[in-house]
């Protein structure tokens, strides 16, 4: 079976599974799976760029995804005027002061030498930190006091929400630049641990910096790029058209909204996929793979290995950021507590490995496939557990077994990952 036929068959299978969900369960759930599948495929493409092209091990996907989510809030929410006048400028000044002291510390480090160096840098950082806290804290307190129950944060820029997607990519790229500068060029597992750390820190910031993201109070009611269901239902023309194809207005409106998202996501996915394919086949892509396969040889040929790694690390993270922004737009709210590393980092890794690392189409396929499995394992497990426990009398054990079904997902994902790594390490669609 040649590669192309295999790809067509496997993608056909995924399409069949989603359409099958539509017939068996409901079209709404089929579209929900499709939309998150598109987002997951995009994340998998980003990770594939880093791992498949360059062999970089990034386990901080969750952090970049969350930064994308933050971008939606910062770009599209209307600004809270009262909060800005209470302490917005003060916060900005504090942040500027903090950034300035870091820059100053780097300059001092470069200008001095010998024993003075360490002390001078420490002194600059210490003074800078306390100055930052003095200016910043008061501003934060003032902002968070503004109508804490409904706002208590600065809001965003009030721009169209679609603009938030590239902004999410930029935010993630910025964070990736900082990590890449420190951890690239060291051993591969150091990058892994550094990215693991930055992801936890991003989530901690989202949870605690109420002035920016409302923390655990969540930001609800994010603007949408598609119409609202209620508006559609109130539109007589829409109700009539829905009636003419035999759907009641409520179902029709929810389907149309989800379809709108599907179209938008598909456009983004196709653009990124085409770009990634072009990159893979370009001289740049060949160079990346040459570096991945033999760093020493590539370096001997005069390639800037660390520079190229930094480049591809930033690109891949930016894609994850865009996907994160799209996901938050789809959810319509930013909930920092919902970011779990197992779901947003390691599951994406399973997608890439299962799909076929180094193959862009494989990453997309893996994204859909694993997402489908992730969603459907639970009802399936419940059904199986229902049969297993049907003969048992009611009691602690039965309840425990039925409760444990929700953790089946993790186990299944681990087993899938290990089986693929062992018996088909090149994935469903191997790299050509």
């Amino acid at each position: 079976m040649n590669d192309r036929l295999r790809a067509v068959l496997l993608f056909g299978l995924v399409a069949l599974m989603i359409v099958g969900t539509g017939f068996v369960q409901s079209w709404n759930s089929a579209l929900i799976i499709l939309n998150m599948g598109l987002v997951s495929a995009l994340m998998a493409l980003g990770v594939n760029l880093q791992w498949g092209f360059a062999g970089l091990f990034n386990v901080g996907v969750m952090g970049f995804v969350a930064l994308g989510g933050l971008a939606v809030v910062l770009t599209s929410m209307p600004p809270v005027g009262a909060a800005w006048s209470a302490g917005g400028l003060r916060i900005l000044a504090g942040l500027a002061l903090g950034a300035a002291s870091i820059v100053a510390a780097i300059l001092v480090w470069k200008k001095t030498s010998g024993r003075v160096r360490g002390w001078a840098v420490a002194a600059v950082l210490l003074v800078g930190f306390f100055a930052f806290r003095t200016v910043f804290d008061a501003g934060v307190e003032a902002v968070e006091a503004v109508d804490a129950a409904t706002s208590g944060y600065l809001g965003g820029l009030g721009l169209p929400v679609l603009l938030a997607w590239p902004v999410g990519g930029l935010l993630a790229a910025g964070a990736a630049w900082i990590i890449g500068k420190t951890a690239l060029g060291l051993r591969s597992d150091y990058l892994a641990i550094a990215t693991l750390g930055i992801a936890e820190i991003v989530i901690a910031i989202l949870k605690n910096e109420d002035w920016m993201s409302r923390g655990v109070k969540n930001v609800n009611g994010l603007p949408r790029p598609v119409p609202y269901e209620v508006d559609l239902q109130a539109d007589p023309g829409f109700v009539e058209r829905a009636g003419s194809i035999g759907l009641d207005p409520t179902t029709a409106s929810t389907l149309l909204v989800k379809l709108g998202y599907s179209v938008l996501f598909t456009v983004v996915l196709v653009i990124v996929l085409v770009l990634a394919q072009l990159a893979l086949r370009s001289p740049w892509g060949r160079m990346m793979r040459a570096i991945r396969d033999n760093e020493t040889a590539a370096r001997a040929m005069g390639k800037d290995v660390t520079g190229r790694h930094l480049q591809v690390f930033i690109l891949g993270s930016a894609i994850c950021g865009i996907a994160g922004a799209m996901m938050t737009t789809l959810d319509g709210q930013l909930t920092p507590t919902s970011y779990q590393p197992l779901r947003y980092t390691f599951l994406i890794w399973v997608m890439v490995i299962v799909g076929g690392s180094g193959n862009n189409l494989g990453a997309v396929l893996g994204g859909f496939f694993i997402w489908f499995a992730w969603v459907q394992v639970e009802p399936l497990g419940q059904a199986i557990m229902g049969i297993v426990t049907s003969g048992m009398e009611d009691g602690g054990l039965k309840r425990h077994l039925i409760d444990s079904v929700q953790h089946m997902r993790l186990l299944t994902m681990g087993v899938i990952l290990l089986l693929v790594l062992r018996f088909s390490p090149r994935g469903l669609l191997p790299e050509r």
């Binding site: 804290d137 420190t182 693991l196 750390g197 399973v350 953790h407 089946m408 681990g414 790594l421």
Partner: protein, 336 residues
């Protein structure tokens, strides 16, 4: 007198908790560093190995409690630890047999082993959650305090009290026993020496007739014991929750890397460096400063450098600093 009070406050809120936490991290980091030294990969499943061992210990503890057996003033869990270690050892040995051995024979690059360990992590995670659930479990019993704050105040007549919890005392004692036993084993016994030889130079060790599979088996046994003990001590001191154990991965790795991956003494030093920085940076220094500074200089604010929610940031920053300036760690570990 003020200085003494300041010292007591400092001990109560910084020194004692940090020593206990540092000991827990050190034992955890020892496990990571052993896997790294012998099997040559960063084991991302270590946090969940700790969770599994702790879970087995908790279940055994409940069994003992149900049978009416307690350990007097000490937590019953200490009696149950061997059961936990045995269960954990069985699990990791089975994992090695079914999963890791295949890749070892193929001599895959370390990063593939790391990805494999992520798969293992998923599975362990699922197992612990299916058996005991994802919720908080408190399983410490026996005396709560070695010395409580009020007793201390009455005893010394000082204004401030110093409380030492039983779990903190036990942590330190157990940690010392574990570390001494481990170093004795690595430096004095034949098996331990063969392990160090294998870690230093695999080919040379094979040439001199060391059985690599035996070395690997012994390593996993030790790792299971270390992981279970670290997990139980942490769980006694704070509480058991699978997700918290997963999150411990970051400070544990930071400790192992800061000390130098593959270096046992480095893992211990790293554990304490991370613990002390975390506690000191997230502690509100107001009361210590009130005692030490003259009244006119006493601070109004809490003087807390970072809120406790950012404790991961602390281990991360230390990690980055060490990576930038001394990538092999304080004690010159390996680098691949």
């Amino acid at each position: 007198m003020d200085l003494l009070n300041a010292f007591i406050v400092l001990s109560n809120f910084v020194l004692v908790p940090a020593i206990a936490y540092g000991a827990q991290l050190a034992i955890g980091a020892l496990g990571v560093t052993m896997v790294y030294g012998i099997l040559r990969f960063s084991n991302f499943a270590h946090g969940d190995t700790m969770a599994f061992g702790t879970m087995a210990t908790i279940i055994a503890t409940w069994g003992l409690q149900a049978a009416g057996i307690t350990f007097g003033p000490l937590p019953t869990a200490l009696l149950a630890i061997p059961v936990g270690i045995a269960a954990c050892a069985a699990l990791v040995l089975a994992t090695d047999r079914v999963v890791y051995r295949f890749y070892r024979a193929q001599k895959v690059v370390p990063v593939i082993m790391v990805i494999v360990s992520i798969g293992v992590m998923f599975i362990y995670n699922g197992i612990t959650r299916i058996i005991l659930g994802p919720d908080d479990q408190r399983f410490a019993d026996g005396e709560r305090f070695i010395i409580s704050a009020r007793d201390f105040q009455e005893m010394t007549g000082l204004e401030e009290g110093l409380a030492i919890r039983t779990t903190q005392g036990i942590t330190l004692v157990v940690a010392i026993i574990v570390v001494v036993a481990l170093f004795w084993f690595l430096n004095r016994t034949r098996t331990g020496k063969s392990m160090r030889a294998y870690s230093d130079n695999e080919d040379l060790a094979l040439l001199s007739g060391i059985d690599p599979e035996r070395v690997v088996r012994v390593t996993w046994l030790i790792v299971a014991a270390l992981a279970t003990i670290a997990g139980v001590l942490y769980g006694l001191d704070k509480s058991y929750k699978p997700f918290t154990y997963f999150q411990l991965l970051l400070p544990i790795f930071a400790a192992a890397i800061v000390g130098g991956l593959g270096s046992p003494i480095g893992a211990i030093a790293g554990g304490f460096v991370i613990a002390f920085s975390e506690v000191a940076i997230t502690y509100a220094w107001k009361r210590v400063l009130e005692y030490t500074l003259p009244e006119s200089l006493a601070p109004d604010s809490l003087v807390q450098l970072l809120s406790t929610d950012y404790k991961f940031a602390v281990s991360f920053v230390i990690l980055v600093i060490v990576l930038l300036f001394r990538p092999t760690g304080l004690f010159r570990g390996k680098s691949v």
